[in-house]
Amino acid sequence: GQGPSTTATTTSKKVFVVGYSQSNNAEPYRAQLNLQLEYFMKKYPDLKLLPITDAHQDSTTQVGHVQSFIAQHVDVLIVSPNEPAPLTAPIEQACAAHIPVIILDRSVNTDCYTSFIGGDNVLAGEKAGQEALQLLPNGGNVVELQGILSDQPQIDRDKGFRAAIAANPKIKIIASREAKWLKPNATTIMQQWLSQYPKIDLVYGQNDPMALGAYLAASGVGKASRMKFIGTDGLAIPDGGIRAVQQGQLAFTNIYPTCAQQAAEYAENIVHHQSVQHRLTLGITEVTPENAPALYKQYYLGS
């Protein structure tokens, strides 16, 4: 129980309606965010979370969802933008309609929102890079599995990772390809790399599923023990990164914050006119085989 034990007690009987527009439910990270948000929202009896809308990774759809929340005059609007630019205009519309907006994880190109809560993708990349430096003190060959190339987290994680490993010139990125955040794609690409490059020392997957997909490919040809796998996201689900670290499949991962707990807290604060930070950047928790069991217990939501 790490939730805020101080349950907000308010005099008004009113129930406040919260709408949450998710960009893509079907990413494990975002699915976890949804679950957590529902979990933490339940802790505030005066907040009612409408069914979460899913834009299926399509900005146009998400604009429609945001607009429909505006039409319903929700009391708080939470948005995880699929893309900054397309969502800017509807968030300005919400602002014009005096609806408080909490932006999660990805920014928008306007300041007209109540609060932004997010992690730092460059930092996540850097942490992965620093871990790589430690795992490969004598240098080595690194391959990188990228998310959708035009996605901002991809760009930032890539930037942070490369910046960090630049500290050791003997570490070389010998290949990088787009696996679109997906596990089977990563498996396929890794298989090709394995037949192509005799020596791969470390695999950096920009999210855990890609790192695990690469792990599957490598363990299939019995090479998994000869290389290290680093992921990002660190979800506390049975199929997630923390467990994978615990089981030794991944050498390391980051818990990239889902922001759900803070979002629920902020929503509560906002409806009661308490002040919130305009920008809140959350830290990154490193997951190593040592702390993995504890972290899993801490973050796991299921029974």
């Binding site: 429609g64 429909s68 397309p86 800017t88 205009a89 519309q93 190339l149 035009s150």
Partner: protein, 381 residues
């Protein structure tokens, strides 16, 4: 006797003629509304469940505006489907053209009209290649346009270097450049072309994507029904051999239709860019499915030769308003997928001509029986 519907064997004489006339008139009206029944039900449900929130100028404008770039693609797609082809590349072409538009705006500083024209030319060029490969190389349009889907997307991503390009260029004083500001009129939410005040109704805004979509529909409905080119399109789709022997230049029509489809994708590109205030290298992905779905739900047959733009418009409205109504009613997302699938099937079944009359054939005897029973009981009449 002649215009009589349904089963002739039933005791029709038991219904008095005046009533029969009335019944017939009601049936005729129902029959003419037949093609819209799916749409009517969705709108009706929207109004019933959400009242003025749904039936509100802004909400409807938003809903149609969201779909309008896909709607414009659907018009081009309808033409292609009419000649028994399919165009899977429209989504990618829209993506490429929205990127072109954004780059023309930010790097060349062109004005929206120039951008639209160039974008249409770019789209038409791709479309021409589709048509050329389909008709000259005689490859199935499915393969040609699937290849083009891949090619255009690759070029789009290469052109943009995988980074989305914002369309809001700011001058030194922090204001948007005039062209960038004008570009917003092409679809950035909340930016109307112009607004005016109507008595009773209040302020009305004309939102470019909606206007553009409707105008495209009108123009192409006109072309299809009132020009030789339109007739030839139907002929090519209905029977290419017969069309050729009737003096139709089948190759030319094929190329023209694919070119138009590409051109419309080019026309929709800037709208999409303005709507998102940026061109995403992934913009338009899987829009082709929506475009095809709108056409097919609207009655176009993939075998060719059958379909109208009005039908496609209805199909597009069904798709977008269904999403809107479900969104307003806060249906959970996973169930939305399920419900959407079911409703699309129901809508298509309902708007098939003759569903009512064929249902009536079964219902009629029952109705008649009930009536005659009523007549026998004393309280009636």
């Amino acid at each position: 006797m002649k215009a009589d519907l349904g089963n002739p064997a039933v005791q029709e004489t038991s219904i008095p003629p005046s009533r029969r006339e009335r019944l017939k008139r009601i049936l005729a009206i129902l029959g003419s509304l037949q093609g819209y029944i799916g749409l009517i039900l969705i709108v009706g449900f929207g109004i019933l469940s959400k009242g003025s929130i749904f039936w509100d100028g802004v909400n409807l404008t938003n809903a149609i505006g969201d779909f309008s770039s896909r709607g414009i693609l659907a018009v081009g797609e309808t033409l292609v489907i009419l000649i028994a082809g399919i165009d899977l590349s429209v989504g990618s072409l829209l993506g490429f053209c929205s990127m072109t538009a954004a780059l023309l705006l930010t790097t060349r500083g062109l004005n929206p009209i120039e951008i639209i024209l160039i974008s249409m030319i770019v789209g038409a060029t791709f479309g021409f290649l589709n048509g050329f490969a389909t008709s000259w190389l005689r490859i199935q349009s499915f393969i040609v346009t699937l290849a083009m889907l891949s090619i255009a997307r690759g070029l789009d991503r290469q052109l943009s270097n995988n980074v989305s390009v914002g369309t809001q260029t700011v001058m030194a004083n922090g204001q948007l450049t005039p062209n960038s500001s004008a570009f917003q009129l092409l679809g950035t939410p909340g930016h109307n072309l112009f607004t005016f005040t109507l008595p009773f109704v209040g302020q009305v805004g004309i939102y470019y994507p909606v206007l553009a979509f409707l105008v495209v529909c009108i123009i192409f409905q006109f072309i299809l029904s009132r020009t030789r080119f339109g007739r030839h399109i139907y002929a090519v789709g209905g029977n290419p051999t017969a069309a050729r022997l009737s003096g139709v230049n089948v190759t030319l029509i094929t190329i023209a239709v694919f070119t138009l489809s590409g051109m419309l994708a080019g026309f929709a590109g800037p709208i999409d860019a303005a709507y998102s205030a940026s061109a995403d290298p992934l913009a338009g992905q899987s829009f082709e499915l929506d475009a095809i779905a709108a056409a097919v739900i609207g009655g176009a047959s993939l075998v060719g030769g059958k379909g109208t733009i009005i039908g496609t418009l209805v199909g597009a409205l069904i798709l977008t308003l269904l999403d809107n109504v479900m969104g307003l009613n806060a249906v959970s997302d996973n169930w939305q997928l399920v419900i959407k699938g079911l409703i699309v099937i129901v809508a298509v079944v309902l708007q098939r001509p003759g569903v009512f009359t064929s249902v009536l054939v079964y219902i009629r005897p029952i109705v008649t029986r009930i009536r005659s029973e009523r007549r026998e009981s004393p309280e009636s009449e």
